[in-house]
Subunit: 375 residues, 2 copies
């Protein structure tokens, strides 16, 4: 493979001049520049980023560690991160932690060895020694989606509190009184928050939530199915089950289908986390949608701020209730689509889902102040 030295020889200049051409240094005459370009083309020269990085101490690469690459939420997040980073001239290396602390650490270490310029991490439950060391070492780091307690690290995440409150009101307005919640692990910040928010919202809306209506899952399909089964087997089963994430909702659908129950007539379903196909099936699933792509983009910007030595501020964006038909909503009518085709669905590059989605009042109103900044 041709090196800068070969290009220099071919063009009859020094390596310094070739380097200047590579870096768009204006102190090169147009004529020399052209000669160098010609030499590069003739030799199929591809600059060696490894050598450049060694010298410049910068790789123009960001590391992203996600929870589970098979979860569509993280996929969408990764895509947005990649888009935003590429626009800024950065490459992204993705690590899939598979929700395991040891895998997470494996990637943190590998990415540090590769000398990525900064790290975006969706942390697993634990504060591992390696992560602590990264923080202590002052390396640019941003938490995404989830946060770890006790560490002074900027974070970018969604807050579902308001959307969950709205959901509780929505269910009450539909006449439901018995609503159950299958939450995520208490070890994840997202799991804890959603549970707290649900209990408060249910209380406020006057919904009864006996202890047996709150179950703890693990954000995976199997627990969604098993816990749904347990709820359906109760002497007084709930009218609606609220699943703490999209994978557990998958499991719930499975259990409901296997029992031959109909949605929403026999049992209502809501999912935290909206995924593309929720709007395409029959009936479409009512869900709380996180501004996933925006989270990814914001996280990159926060990290780039840190890299530029600017002050990095944590970001919290509101989640939104997307009303569809899985809780007994009437098919049509009602106040329609606040941001319709320009909203999340369009962001995902899909055709609209037929205009039947409604965003509730509260969140629609909030849309204007999306992205309030916190300390």
């Amino acid at each position: 493979m041709a090196r800068i030295k070969d290009v220099a020889a071919q063009a009859g200049v020094s390596v310094a001049t070739v380097s200047r051409v590579l870096n768009d240094n204006p102190a090169v005459t147009e004529e020399t520049r052209q000669r160098v370009y010609a030499a590069m083309a003739a030799l199929n020269y591809v600059p060696n980023a490894v050598a450049r990085s060694l010298r410049t101490e910068a790789t123009r690469t960001l590391g992203l560690i996600i929870g589970d690459i098979l979860n569509p939420f993280f996929t969408e997040l990764a895509r947005a991160v990649e888009d935003e980073a590429r626009a800024a001239g950065y490459t992204v290396v993705i690590g899939n932690a598979d929700e395991r602390a040891d895998r997470q650490d494996h990637y943190v270490r590998a990415l540090l060895e590769q000398r990525v310029d900064g790290l975006l991490v969706c942390p697993t439950a634990e504060v591992t020694p390696l992560v602590e060391e990264v923080v202590r070492g002052g390396r640019p780091l941003v938490f995404l989606d989830r946060v770890l307690p006790g560490l002074d690290v900027p974070s970018v995440r969604a807050d579902g509190t308001e959307a969950i409150r709205e959901l509780a009101g929505h269910l009450r307005d539909l006449g439901h009184r018995r609503v159950a919640f299958i939450s995520g692990p208490g070890t994840l910040s997202t799991g804890r928050e959603r549970t707290t928010a649900f209990l408060a919202a249910a209380d406020e809306a006057g919904l009864a939530v006996p202890p047996e209506y709150v179950r703890v899952g693990d954000f995976r399909t199997g627990s969604g199915q098993a816990l749904t089964a347990a709820l359906l087997d109760l002497p007084e089963p709930p009218e609606v089950i609220f699943l703490g994430d999209n994978l557990m909702a998958l499991g719930a659908l499975d259990e409901i289908r296997e029992r031959g129950l109909r949605i929403p007539d026999d049992i209502g379903i809501v999912s935290f986390d909206d995924v593309p196909w929720f709007g395409h099936i029959s009936p479409p699933i009512t869900a709380i949608s996180q501004p996933t792509a925006e989270l990814g983009r914001r996280a990159v910007r926060v990290l780039l701020d840190m890299l530029a030595g600017r002050r990095a501020e944590s970001v919290v964006l509101p989640a939104h209730l997307i009303v569809r038909s899985s809780c007994g909503e009437s098919g049509e009518g009602g106040e329609c689509v606040a941001r319709g085709a320009t909203g999340e669905a369009a962001e995902r590059g899909q055709a609209g889902t037929g205009g039947r989605e409604r965003r509730g009042r509260r969140t629609a109103a909030l849309a204007g102040e999306e992205g309030k900044v916190t300390a």
Copy 2:
């Protein structure tokens, strides 16, 4: 950040010795080794992979360029590639071409600059000059899922011919006579192959396929919906629509739901590409499943073969028909599950889908000879 020189000073040895410890060179006494380890721990030393790569001319990194990161097929592929590569001590850098030739080239170039040891590419339609140059330059390259004509590059892909033939027989046995196909772009090898296979299989099964029953989509949701609409509007609409990939199936579901039609009573649906949720909705969608994870693993092994200087052979794996209930199949009974819980579904880390899936006879028989090797 501590360098090898600092570790050497701290341990009272030379940099050469530290390097030997890093590389598990046996010519170091146990006592020295321990001193070096202690020094590394004291300084929080993280070896600099950039410097190492410059010297060794190897990055232990593979590049993977996928068609569309929002398509679950590619997500699963990426995951499998990553798993297999990590097991072999390699890191994977993923590039999302978004089905655009310019994006593909952007990543090919970026990955070459990063000096990845090898490339796995799911090529877009065109043979770009850059790709040609990579081939001519003899850099390790493997095509995955799709192939480009006229280039002598090993490939790893699935062949749906047999599964499509089986599907045609299955539909005929269910009493269907009018089956339509929405294919992928003729510019992609996967699009062409599926169309050819469908026409041959329909003919063999005695299904009538008038020209207006074959439509050309673009592997995206919108075209699936629009072309489904066109088929449903025909004077004599088909009884079953076979979608060429999972995203177009999403669009078809959308159109069917909007029209208030029922599956399978009003219209039957089959999808090429099985995705996790097809088995979890009502009714579960009959689909042709590719051995996605195995494709990814095989591709890595072929690439590693090339890196090791071994002869690299292309691999073709058969796709399988997964019979569910979206074409009017009777709910239960029939010969059941050939590989059930140990098959693809389990591979994806999901709970089984209730044991209602059936694999047809032909593919079940083929399972034994999966992975025949071609030149």
